[in-house]
Amino acid sequence: MTAPALGRRALAALVLPPLAARAEGDGWAGTLSRARGRTVAWHAWGGDERTNTFIAWVGQQVAARHGITLRHVRLRDTAEAVQRVLAEVSAGRREGGAVDMIWLNGPNFLALKQAGLLRRFADRLPNFALVDTVGKPATVTDFTVPVEGYAAPWRMARLVFIAEGRRVPDPPRDMPALLSWAGRNRGRFTHPHVRNFLGATFLKQALFELAPDRSVLARPADAAFDAAVAPLWSWYDALRPLLWRQGRVFPESGPAMRNLLNDGEIDIMLSFNPGEATASVTAGLLPASVRSFVPAIGSIGNASFVAIPLNASAPEAAEAVANFLLSPEAQARAEDPRHLGAPTVLDLSRLSPAERALFEAWPRGPEALAPDALGPALPEPHPSWMTRLTEAWERRVAA
């Protein structure tokens, strides 16, 4: 759908008489009118303060625009919300559930989609027409799983490395180089615990680089798993004793790792957000001497989604929030490194010039990657790889 078409649809929604009936045919205006006055419980990982602040801003916006109260339920682990939905449904609660919207992707999305517990809504959102589904295929294929409208993208994620520039003038650009760097700088690198998505992504990045045959990664992990991961484990077994705390303890999350870099406990951290360095320097969470870099081969990229459980209490209001997240205004704020620094999911060419102007060139210091230095986005393997990698890693580390 092009922008004029979108305009026609919005116009049609405006001129249509509001329908009192809860019919599906009353369009977006009907959705918005049913959304008004409702409260949306958005279950979203609460470990990142800037994301929390962004979500609070979204709350103010949807309250002003649509009369929706947004409640951010801060999760330690996204799986908590998934489990809640599954538990409610298995206890027979088919509506009025606790979870209206979840920030998720990967195995959590697959678990709910496979169980048939998600509402199909994303392709009906007016702003979905602005999403760059071709240039950013991760917006419609999550970890090789077709999204099919069961979740709406709201931010892009790319694995980037951030180094303390004064101590790492020449950062390692591939996994063998990282290993030899770690050998020369014992205890100065680590990765988040693999239960955390960023820790798992680090392993997937290494897997992608080291696997003898990458094509198996796109399929569910089966008998090919052991052969594919063997080089990864021999590399990792060499790396692990060289890590921070001899690889016996791992930071819980990306922000925990950022604390370590800021405190000088480590020299290189990971982030899923290309704008992280700028945003964190601005917020005083990292020193101005940090520098971003990516592996030469490219880095794992994916999209973050919001999904609405079938038993949500306020599904229409959740749709309105999801649609607002896709608005040029929200996307521009998310991409602004002073706020979030998360790349937009939109295709800027589909925006009006005024909307495009919101995505001005952000202040970009020496800590950030030049726009053309981000390199290619590597595809996520099938979710089962993440699940099995996590299990196998826990077995090795706990042993």
Binding site: H43, G46, E49, T53, R74, E80, L86, V249, A256, A398
Partner: protein, 564 residues
């Protein structure tokens, strides 16, 4: 005690109080037991099986996790008790003694999570202690690569538990000291030539210990089953048993509820084993102690005096931890090894205030509801006993200790399932109900001492003057009990604010309180924000205790005689 009806009305308050405690615990235990043996119809598991036990024991590191729970639990209890005993032995009766008692109360009131976060800020390799000492004393320009927190042996967890539980045992000991003839015993023992600290340990401690045995076992069960302190300070690969279970219980894979329940049963077993080891230790200590006491020689005074420093040291750590969270909450940029932030700022408070208002209100509402119900039930039960004799309250006190003697995860997992099945889970009511299980015993214990200590002559005199039981209660007992009632309320609020697992499980993750926010952020959030949340969390019980201690003074200005 005449008719059955009269007996029923006498027993009713006790039954209500007992029900508030026992039903959730017993329901929770059943809700844990059935899935532990494969029965959880909600997820389609209907035939009993042992498969989940195989899954449980196949978990990498499960043995070590169980061992860690056992060892940190036993060590934390032993160290806390030891530091209290040595301190009391050396300092009982001195002027510093009363002062330390006053210093212990705020630490007791501080929620576990806030204190653990403070310790994290203090003792981490990049923490305040090393910042103060670096680089001038240590030579560190960068934090050393030493696991001073989240260490594999659980030493940081142990420290956190000791710092938190020592004040509790100290205050319990002080209460017990009022119930034993300590002065006479000391006089006799010192007249027999024993140095004062030795005399205290030989003659007074055995009697005191008998009085505080229940709190000691409560500390043991709590330490074995702690979740929030373990998440913040404990090891991660593997963690202790309780956080490991929580991970399964909140996994998207519902079938993991079965091994989680089996694990909860294992945790109960570990707690039981810890109690067994402790009881064996008690026997051994009694034998050795009796020989020591009978030996008559007054050796050991110097060692006791040295060990007496443990408790003030642990209090000092607690205060430094609180100072660390307060400092971080107003810190600007603050990099290692700077001893102080580059500048102070109120911006973090201002920025977080809107987001924290909701959780703060939730914390308060839950605490007030749970404490209010607990106070009413406890006073009713104790008043019934006072009027109708002990028959009205035969087993209530013993039963009320039940939830304190079990590791929380042991029955809360099952309670969550039960609440869910009843459609009750998720709201303020469910969380307050779950909190009541833990608030009720402390309120009851705290009030029953005060009721027992009530001078029986005063109500008797009032009754002789023709006052009805209701009038005696309202005009004589309540004013006499004002201070204990307020303290019990503050205890209830402090207990409620500190609860993490009951909030998480009964609230279905939906009810955000300051405690759940603090534990969530402790996983690596911005320390300044974490500082704000921890200070806010600690402020509620501290203010409650301050009010409980200051209000009676204001009310009693005209009743100076009641102070005695």
């Amino acid at each position: 005690m005449g008719t059955p009806r009269r007996r029923l009305s006498a027993a009713l308050p006790a039954l209500a109080a007992a029900g508030a405690i026992a039903l959730p615990v017993l329901g929770g235990l059943v809700g844990t037991l059935l899935p532990a043996f494969g029965v959880l119809p909600a997820i389609g598991a209907e035939a009993p099986s042992l498969e989940q036990w195989r899954r449980l024991f196949a978990e990498p590191g499960i043995g070590r996790a169980a061992l860690l729970s056992l060892s940190t639990g036993l060590a934390a209890t032993a160290l806390s008790l030891l530091s209290v005993a040595l301190f009391c032995a050396a300092a009982h009766g001195s002027r510093g003694f009363a002062r330390v008692q006053a210093l212990a109360l705020p630490v007791l009131a501080t929620p576990h999570a806030a204190l653990a976060i403070g310790l994290l800020f203090l003792i981490a390799p990049s923490g305040l202690l090393l910042r103060l000492l670096s680089p001038w004393a240590t030579g560190f320009d960068l934090p050393p690569d030493i696991a001073t927190v989240n260490d594999g042996l659980g030493l940081a967890l142990l420290l956190g538990l000791v710092v938190k539980e020592t004040p509790y045992l100290l205050l319990m000991t002080l209460a017990a000291l009022n119930q034993v003839p300590a002065a006479q015993l000391l006089a006799v023992a010192t007249s027999l030539g024993q140095p004062r600290p030795v005399a205290w340990l030989k003659a007074v401690f055995p009697l005191v210990y008998r009085q505080i045995r229940l709190p000691v076992f409560a500390v043991l069960a709590y330490s074995v089953g702690t979740v929030d302190v373990a998440l913040i300070l404990g090891p991660s690969a593997p963690p202790t048993l309780a956080p490991l279970l929580l991970r399964w219980a909140t996994s998207p894979d519902l079938s993991l509820l079965l091994p989680a329940s089996a694990g909860a049963l294992l945790l109960l077993g570990v707690a039981l084993a810890a109690a067994g080891v402790w009881i064996a230790g008690e026997r051994a200590a009694a034998t050795v102690g009796r020989a020591w006491a009978a030996g008559g020689r007054g050796i050991g005074a110097a060692a006791i005096r040295a060990g007496a420093a443990l408790l003030p040291l642990s209090l000092l750590l607690a205060y430094c931890a609180l100072a660390a969270v307060a400092l971080w909450s107003v810190a600007g940029p603050w990099r290692f090894p700077d001893a102080l932030p580059e500048r102070l700022q109120g911006g973090t408070w201002a920025a977080q205030a809107p987001a924290l208002a909701g959780p703060a209100v939730n914390s308060l509402v839950v605490a007030l509801v749970a404490t209010g119900i607990a106070l009413v039930l406890a006073v009713a039960a104790l008043e019934a006993r006072a009027r109708h004799g002990p028959a009205a309250l035969p087993w209530l006190l013993r039963l009320s200790a039940l939830p304190l003697l079990l590791p929380q995860a042991g029955f809360l997992l099952g309670l969550q399932a039960a609440l869910l099945a009843l459609g009750l889970e998720g709201g303020v009511a469910a969380v307050a109900l779950a909190h009541l299980v833990f608030v009720m015993p402390y309120v009851l214990l705290s009030l029953s001492d005060a009721y027992a200590a009530l001078d029986p002559r005063l109500p008797r005199v009032a009754a002789c003057l023709g006052a009805s039981p209701a009038r005696v209660f309202l005009a004589v007992k309540l004013p006499l009990l004002l201070r204990p009632l307020l303290v019990a309320a503050a205890v209830g609020i402090a207990v409620s604010i500190a609860q993490y697992l009951p909030t998480l499980l009964a609230g279905g993750g939906r009810l955000a309180t300051l405690t759940t926010e603090a534990v969530t952020l402790a996983a690596g959030g911005d320390r300044r924000v974490l500082g704000v949340v921890a200070v806010a969390q600690a402020a509620i019980p501290l203010l409650a205790f301050a009010a409980a201690l200051l209000l009676p003074a204001a009310v009693w200005r005209r009743r100076a005689g009641l102070r005695a």
